[in-house]
């Protein structure tokens, strides 16, 4: 199995000489092609910083991030923009759909900025719409859709360019449980049937239980790692809950 992402000993410091905060403190891991990796951790653990570094929005203090054999920490600003455009797909908690554009146009935008051919664009959009079951709402505006539909349109936009890596930041954060389940089902489908590589950051154990493997982060370090293997989702979910309790955090600290 080929490595899509390889994070090597990255550190990220904030602050000045006298007062250093280590948001990421020596993290290394690898993601293989076709893997569905979840990253969990309480607030302030550094998971969003990690995602920002991988998605080239932020830069690391030391260490290497290699995506598809390219070290993105040494790329220039312009090359980074192109890299982000061509190799990465993003799914955000708040969808980031353009409210003035229809679903079709929102998805098309990701392709037009890559200067894809006219016929190709139409074929790719129809194709991805079918995969995510949003064909009926292609001509609707975001304000006419439900939250789940919006997130599926956003997902379609993220995968339509066939990126090497899909980065999802709390994708179910703004969804009700039914919509979450539907979205995660489609993630699972994308991962299993179309071999998309997904890296998902979440603090919700149920959402995380859809992943193949989970990294737990606390105070900027990897605290634990869980691999689903042949577990059912329920078993995997229970294992996750155990680690979360151990980890402390959201609920654990209060009890």
């Amino acid at each position: 199995m080929q490595n899509v992402l390889s994070v090597e000993k990255i550190e990220k410091y904030y602050g000045n000489k006298d007062n250093i905060t280590k948001a990421i403190d020596n993290i290394s891991f690898k993601v293989n092609e076709g893997e569905f990796l979840g990253i969990m951790g309480p607030s302030g653990s550094g998971k969003t910083t990690l995602l920002n570094c991988i998605s080239t929005i932020d830069n690391v203090t030391t260490g290497k991030i290699i995506i598809n054999n390219k070290d993105i920490t040494v790329l220039k600003a312009k090359a980074l923009e192109e890299f982000r455009r061509d190799e990465l797909g993003f799914i955000f908690q708040d969808f980031n759909l353009l409210d003035t554009l229809t679903a079709y146009e929102n998805i098309a935008l990701a392709l037009t900025i890559q200067n894809r051919g006219l016929k190709e664009i139409d074929i790719l959009i129809k194709d991805v719409a079918e995969k995510l079951d949003i064909t009926e709402i292609l001509n609707k505006y975001p304000f006419q859709m439900s939250g789940g539909q919006k997130q599926r349109v956003a997902s379609a936009r993220a995968i339509v360019t066939e990126p090497s890596l899909i980065l999802a930041d709390e994708p179910t954060g703004a969804l009700d449980s039914k919509s979450s389940r539907l979205l995660l089902d489609s993630f699972e489908k994308l991962n299993k049937d179309f071999h998309s590589t997904i890296l998902m950051v979440t603090h919700d154990s149920f959402t995380a239980s859809y992943a193949n493997r989970i990294l737990f982060i606390k105070d900027g370090r990897i605290f634990n790692e869980l691999i689903r293997g042949n577990d059912t989702r329920r078993e995997f979910f229970n294992k996750i809950m155990e680690v979360v309790t151990l980890l402390g955090g959201d609920v654990g600290n209060v009890l």
Binding site: T112, I113, L118, Y141, R157
Partner: protein, 669 residues
């Protein structure tokens, strides 16, 4: 403490304030420059003509009030947008427990600060600009500026301060009102409001668009056919059609446009054109009323600037053929009075002890009325509209006639050869050919004139276009009749013409100018009851130049204010829309759109937004100017000068907007 917050606010949000400040400063600058006109050197030359100065002052005062209303509206609008933009900041002050009164105190101080600053800068700029204006005035009035003088008009400064002071006061009151209405929850949630995109039926929008084009086409056709000299009611209908057409055009334009572009996939699916299209669609849809208003204002401005600059040229050309004498005067005959002395200007001059110097070549002559009117003569060749035109300009009525011996002595003054006229011949002296084709047609097709049942042959084939006296009216029609003309004649004027000797022209001019001014003041009423009117060539051209100056001034004044107003409104709309769209730009960046593409999108949006109303306005004004063409004739100089004004000011606002939006988007994360 509050003044400190206010000063810091102004400093920090200087970028937000820059368009506001630019508009205020330009407004003050133009206001000062035009109001300083009374103290301009060249105008002071004209000051001798008290009548002219009074008219000018009245007109300037009226225009200033109108302009201050326009600027007042603009400033309040700009201020409203600024406050809206800062809602969140004001909300934070309030959550911190600052009383509303204190928040409005900060705002008052800010307005005051910006106001005083813009007044100062504006007046200083205005003083500089008015020096240039002074040269322009001298040019228009054909006055030699032998001595350049730096002028500062105190009255104009006072006027600017008072007018703008009142406007700023209104802004402050308006701010108080807005603040007192605010609720904290609304202010803090201001940015979260969702925009509802209006959906439009594509068929309906296409229908309205085609309808608007049709209405505009009809309005254009009407304007071009009848010109702007048409009857009032007709003209009102044409203008109304133009306005409605424009309104419908902008109402349907974006929906129609977007449906067309969606069909052209090559453009639609390139870069982030999808996004640009939707942004523009949104804006023009919601702002179609103000876009219409701006377009109409720009049309008016372009037409105004063109005609104003061209008027002077037109007047110069008009006066070319009709100013053959240095001074002319006429006595209006009183046919009730049989005393020949009363109806003879020569006797009259003797009575008031006025004598001609030997070097003042002059001639006396009589003008008569015939028993035939211009309509009788030309009726066959005049259209109904042309008849109405003649009547409206008092160019109809009984034809004037001059006996050939008088005529010969008149043209001899100019060094021309006398003309022989047989007993049954007449000469036609007229420039009516400039008005319409009736006279040339008549002279081409018929060579006789029937007067009092007697047939006369017209001696000349085309009318002589040299006027026989210096008059203010630029159109004339005379028949030169034989000395022994036997038909009905009624003495109308007893007149004289003078030509000065080059060497003594200054003395002579002074002498005659004084004489004519005395006539106007009825100074010799006690000596003779006759009414005499006279004008020297200089007096006439001064009056005409004065009129040209007035129209050029007011045209420029209003034109500049209109350009600034429309450009500023558009710039402010763009900026406020951009701050509403910041989230969208952030989303674009997150999905990997490069900065270069985003800047391109901003440029295209601003360009389209500024050019669309201008484009239609240019077409409107081309039609308007063509319709005016019959009254004026245009040359390239005026095109260049007025385009320059438009391009510089409009361009500056466009650039400021583009940079402003770009920075706003750039600094948003």
């Amino acid at each position: 403490m509050f003044s400190k917050i206010a000063i810091n606010n102004v400093k920090r949000s200087f970028r937000d304030y820059s368009i506001y400040f630019l508009t205020l400063t330009l407004g003050v600058c133009i206001f000062y420059s035009f109001n300083s006109i009374e103290s301009q050197n060249s105008i002071l030359e004209m000051n001798k003509d008290a009548d002219f100065m009074l008219t000018l002052n009245k007109l300037m005062a009226g225009t200033s009030v109108f302009v201050s209303f326009v600027l007042g509206g603009l400033i309040i609008y700009a201020n409203k947008i600024l406050i809206k933009k800062r809602k969140k900041e004001l909300g934070i002050y309030m959550t911190l427990g600052m009383a509303k009164g204190k928040v409005s105190k900060i705002l008052i101080f800010e307005t005051l600060l910006i106001g005083v600053l813009s007044l100062l800068v504006g007046i200083v700029l205005g003083i500089l600009v008015s020096q240039g204006l002074s040269v322009l005035v001298a040019n228009i009035l054909s006055v030699d500026l032998n001595k350049y003088k730096f002028i500062i008009s105190i009255s104009a400064i006072v006027k600017s301060v008072v007018y703008f002071g009142v406007i700023y006061l209104l802004v402050m009151i308006f701010n108080q009102f807005t603040i007192s209405k605010y609720k904290l929850i609304d202010i803090l949630n201001a940015t979260k409001k969702n925009e509802v995109v209006k959906l439009k039926n594509s068929f309906l929008s296409a229908l309205i668009f085609i309808l608007s084009i049709a209405i505009l086409a009809i309005a254009y056709a009407r304007a071009l056919k009848t010109g702007l000299a048409a009857e009032n009611a007709e003209l009102v209908i044409t203008v109304l059609m133009g306005v409605i057409g424009t309104l419908l055009f902008f109402f349907s334009l974006s929906s129609f446009f977007i449906h067309i572009v969606q069909k052209i996939k090559r453009i639609y699916l390139k870069d982030i054109n999808i996004f640009i299209l939707r942004q523009i669609n949104n804006k023009i849809n919601t702002n179609f009323l103000s876009t219409t208003l701006i377009c109409l204002m720009l049309s008016l401005t372009i037409t105004l600037l063109f005609t104003a600059f061209d008027l002077k040229g037109t007047i110069d050309r008009n006066s070319a053929g009709s100013r053959a004498f240095d001074a002319s005067a006429f006595l209006i005959a009183d046919n009730e009075n049989k005393d020949p002395k009363v109806n003879d200007i020569e006797e009259y001059l003797k009575d008031i002890n006025f004598t001609f110097e030997t070097y003042e070549k002059h001639t006396f002559y009589s003008e008569y009325k015939l028993n035939i009117t211009i309509e009788d003569l030309l009726s066959k060749y005049l259209s109904k509209q042309e008849q109405i035109d003649l009547k409206q300009n008092y160019l109809d009525g009984a034809i004037s006639a001059i006996k050939i011996s008088d005529y010969n002595s008149i043209i001899k003054l100019n060094g021309k050869k006398a003309i022989d006229l047989k007993e049954n011949e007449v000469l036609v002296v007229s420039n009516y050919g400039q008005l319409n084709n009736a006279l040339p047609e008549y002279m081409k097709n018929e060579d006789i004139i029937n007067i009092d049942d007697k047939v006369f042959t017209i001696k000349n084939e085309s009318p002589i276009e040299e006027n026989i006296k210096g008059t203010e009216g630029s159109k004339f029609f005379y028949l030169i009749i034989p000395d022994n003309f036997s038909g009905g004649l009624q003495l109308e004027f007893s007149s004289f013409n003078v030509i000065y000797e080059e060497r003594y022209s200054k003395e002579s001019e002074e002498k005659f100018a004084k004489l004519f001014t005395d006539f106007l003041a009825d100074k010799y009423k006690d000596i003779s009851p006759s009414l005499v009117i006279g004008k020297t060539k200089d007096q006439i051209s001064d009056r005409e130049n004065g009129m040209a100056a007035m129209i050029v001034f007011l045209g420029l004044f209003l034109g500049l204010i209109f350009i600034i107003t429309s450009a500023a409104v558009m710039a402010l709309q763009q900026l406020s829309d951009a701050s509403d769209s910041l989230e969208r730009y952030k989303s674009l960046k997150k999905i990997g759109v490069t900065d270069k593409l985003i800047n391109k999108a901003i440029l295209r949006q601003s360009l389209i937004y500024f050019l669309v109303p201008l484009g239609l306005a240019v077409i409107h004004s081309i039609v308007g100017i063509c319709a005016l063409r019959e009254n004026f004739s245009f040359h390239y100089q005026s095109v260049i000068v007025s385009s320059l004004f438009l391009v510089v000011i409009y361009g500056a606002y466009f650039y400021a907007t583009y940079v402003g939006v770009k920075n706003m988007v750039k600094n948003s994360n």
